[in-house]
Assembly symmetry: C2
Homo-oligomer: 480 residues x 2
């Protein structure tokens, strides 16, 4: 998941008008959204291991799936095969993706006040996606630490020729208090923008304190917004190492020897995997249910976002096993390149922008596989009441909350949401999500199989419900 | 800390007789163990940052201190200097220590059922101390997983030519339930003995699942009991990677490519740092208060055992600041080589074995800097009552528990304890200790300064009390 600032989003001026496209549908044939069918879907999902098996295939057999990697390519094949096997109509949509490859990465503090002769201190770090490289033998520069952009600007004169460390503490209490996304956003802002801003001021390298609340000397990678020709080396140091550097700076100047040798290669060929379950009555109308197939390279991307993909895949599997056919087309998408470019989401929108009004709704799961409490969705407030039967059914597994939001979708469906497509996402406990995602510890064992079943129940029930609704839920209005 | 099996310990037949050496001392001059002095010591310790500053110097300025390393040598100098500065009489006792140096370490699963072409799975691991090396280019072998030695023996035929993984799950519930030492002992038994036993059965490599309850893909190193000429490569894989391998083995055979290039160098010269505060009335009688100066190489050894050393050092500092002089000599020792040889402890005993009866008591802190609840000690049950005034004073800071045990000392004072010297250790909360110790995450930020103050209060009060006791606490009897 990437955090998105609501202020960057735009209202689609025509969004309310497009709503009329759905106004006619009112009386389709059974089976539809009757309580018995919803119960059947929910209970069937709670009994099935299929999604977990797909997640295990993805993480155990393939592992990391960074865009452009052999893992990503293998995952495209694996997901496409699995969806074909259950009878979905699979297409691979070509997308060109950034191709960044991690290299050697190491750092030592080679000078500081009080350093005994012959001693250097190791710093644990991981390059950020899009980072440039140091010379092969590394570079040595003084380190300065700043807490925010204001401090960076105030100390502009020191930045030139330095390695800048943005030491932004992850607010774990905020995360534990139910505001994990906000806590994450504070830190990831510096990860995304810090290196670029530091480069503009003449820094020769940029470091960020790893985002996340774990205190196990864990690096937290992610993309950074450097641009070609200005790619300085940029990495996330562990919280422990950020604290060490800050403490040593209180004793005097600190010099670091930094070696990062990632490569920014030409864009690579990849694909969105699109698997359709055609609708019986309105096949041209589409409900997307999705997750993103690419992951960061440090781990196997179980929570981020293997679980989302597996749960989306299981929507068709669950319905097929129950021999239920949707009125509208259900389109499972395993997006490529959410993590460092969102090329899959953008590419899909580009190809489908004339058909936006045929997208009844879109779902993307990209907050991990924590315990689901329900779902969030960006329908207009007046539409919430139409979801009561769905909520009632999901309430039986503790997942009946409908958290209406102005913006609800994941990054890949954001272009659709901005264009007015009501967008949804499972509402999950992600209190601890940011302690794992983008780290080496995002592995299969962290996914509770029961919670994944619950997510499949939520995703399948919601998808089915949307694909069969009589009511017109119209278009969404994303605030500016 | 290393766990020690009580069954390996021996009764010193003469231990009860030696007790008579202390029978005469009954009426020394003030200041002694009056409540006011004990309160003064306790309260002074609770106000001082000196121990934390020493710990910061050790971890921030030097870092890892594995025996034979530049860090260990620098730490000897640093501690000796600090103790000289506060007026202690410092001697460096030479000890020859094992000199093991970590090299490159990496592993991939290069074949397994269901592996897509071109895919390998990375395994995160750290070599164990004393591990042998693979060829520089690594070796490739099938992996077999066993849960215990019985299973290893039952599957003897498969071991030859294989890499054996001992997949022993750390019982975190046991640790959280107050039995962290026992939980640790279960796993560390396989770390210590597994590789040797596997080698004897023809294994070409041995892996253990990392001990400890953290689920952040963290390796937990430690020493393994391989012997020269039979040093196969041996490493700790993370719990996550052990689980991955076990899951893949359910699908079929698994092959690993393993590269470990540690070096076992000739023994190196090093030292115990011994800092005496001579007693006023019985200077020939000694109370040792100690921690071990060496650490593992993955982190800066803040809990294991920088904190123990710093707290021991602070005993003399606290008393000097209060202008209190002990009746018996207080001997602060920063032991060298607890982690992979205990050469410091053994060397001290060797040199002092004719003077064992002059050792009134010995304290070693090596369970980390968690919240202290009191102290444990291996006096005979009838002696416990003499410690009531000390307990009463420490109870004011929640550290009044005296947990009498048959064996209480750390590994370095074990030879003294076996020879009858009553041995003590702070009683601390070490519920989470094994999640950090021997890992890359054992860093200064994990030490709560308040808990370290409490530990200094316990160590100083206890040391002072022992150094001034009128009562004869006799000798201890370590059970067989």
């Amino acid at each position: 998941m990437k955090s998105v600032s609501a202020s960057k989003l735009t209202i689609l001026a025509s969004s309310l008008l497009i709503a009329s496209a759905f106004a006619s549908a009112t009386a389709w044939a059974a089976p539809a959204n009757d309580p018995a069918t919803l119960a059947q879907i929910r209970d069937s999902a709670m009994k099935e291991d299929w999604a977990y098996e797909r997640l295990a295939d993805m993480t155990d057999l393939i592992g990391p799936r960074l865009s452009g990697s052999a893992g990503a390519a293998a995952a495209v094949e694996q997901v496409a095969d699995a969806m074909r096997k259950i009878g979905a109509k699979v297409t691979l949509q070509p997308v060109k993706v950034p191709h960044w490859v991690r290299g050697e990465e190491k750092a030592q503090l080679v000078d500081y006040a009080g350093r005994p002769s012959g001693i250097t201190q190791k710093v644990v770090l991981s390059a950020l996606g899009g980072s440039g490289a140091t010379p092969a033998a590394g570079l040595t520069a003084p380190v300065i630490v700043v807490r925010d952009f204001d401090e960076l600007n105030a100390r502009k004169a020191e930045v030139k020729g330095s390695i800048v460390l943005f030491d932004v503490v992850f607010d774990d209490e905020m995360a534990k208090g139910g505001q994990a996304g906000k806590a994450y956003g504070r830190g990831s802002n510096y990860r995304g923008n810090g290196p670029r801003v530091a480069q503009e001021l003449g820094a020769v390298g940029a470091l960020v304190r790893s985002v996340g609340g774990a205190d196990f000397r864990l690096t937290h990678t992610g993309n950074t917004g450097l641009v070609d020709g200005k790619r300085i080396p940029a990495a996330a140091v562990t919280a422990e190492d950020a604290m060490l550097i800050s403490r040593l700076l209180k004793r005097g100047a600190v010099k670091m020897h930094l070696t990062l040798t990632p490569q920014n290669l030409p864009d690579a060929d990849s694909y969105n995997v699109i698997a359709d379950f055609p609708g019986t009555e309105k096949p041209e109308e589409v409900v997307i249910v999705s997750g993103h197939l690419d992951s960061w390279d440090l781990a196997t991307g179980a929570h981020d976002d293997g679980a989302g993909v597996a749960a989306a895949m299981a929507v068709i599997d669950t319905l097929k096993k129950l021999k239920l056919q949707p009125r509208r087309t259900i389109r499972v998408i395993a997006w490529m390149n959410e993590e460092n470019g969102t090329r899959g989401g953008k590419g899909y929108f580009e190809v489908n922008k004339e058909k936006v009004e045929q997208h009844f709704a879109a779902i993307e799961s990209d907050n991990g596989a924590g315990r689901p409490f329900g779902f969030m969705g960006s329908v207009r407030p007046s539409m919430v009441k139409y979801f009561a039967p769905l909520q009632k059914s999901l309430d039986q597994i503790g997942a009946g909350v409908f958290d209406r939001r102005d913006v609800a979708g994941g990054a890949d469906i954001m272009p659709l949401e901005r264009a007015g497509v009501p967008s949804f996402q499972p509402l999950v406990d992600f209190t601890n999500y940011f302690n794992y995602h983008h780290t080496a510890a995002d592995t299969l064992d962290k996914v509770n199989p029961l919670d994944l079943k619950r997510q499949v129940a939520v995703m399948t029930s919601l998808t089915w419900y949307l694909a069969n609704m009589d009511e017109n839920i119209g278009r969404t209005v994303v605030p500016q």
